[in-house]
Assembly symmetry: C2
Homo-oligomer: 74 residues x 2
């Protein structure tokens, strides 16, 4: 489901969605919890995050963190 | 100033800070405006974003978007 906007490998396909590939699990987990609680607001993400368990969030955050990124060298 | 947490090239050095390298200007600009207005909450970012002009935000967002990233292939 995440892939629709954030891309299959966490490189966003929607211009207003962030890349998640390579973000730390701490950061992604915190954002998902903030969306779930409504502390961080986004029409889609508040709905999508609502049913996630802590374990779901940990797994998603770990998965995106496991995709390593690098700055492209020309 | 951003580099202290987000890294000199937008690859975060602080584990709770996101990478900004390669994020779309639309996304980064929207987040900076949300931090500036207080709509998105973060102790540091709300303070840091407060004095930014729209032009400052556009320039920062464009700069981070100009750093291209790729998923590392093993």
């Amino acid at each position: 489901m995440c892939g629709a906007c954030h891309g299959a490998k966490g490189i966003a396909t929607a211009p207003d969605a962030p890349n998640l590939a390579g973000q730390s699990a701490i950061y992604t987990g915190a954002q998902l919890k903030a969306y779930r609680s409504g502390m961080r607001k986004h029409e889609v993400m508040n709905v999508v995050a609502k049913p996630l368990s802590d374990a779901d969030i940990d797994a998603l955050a770990a998965w995106y963190a496991s995709i390593k990124i690098q700055v492209q060298t020309p």
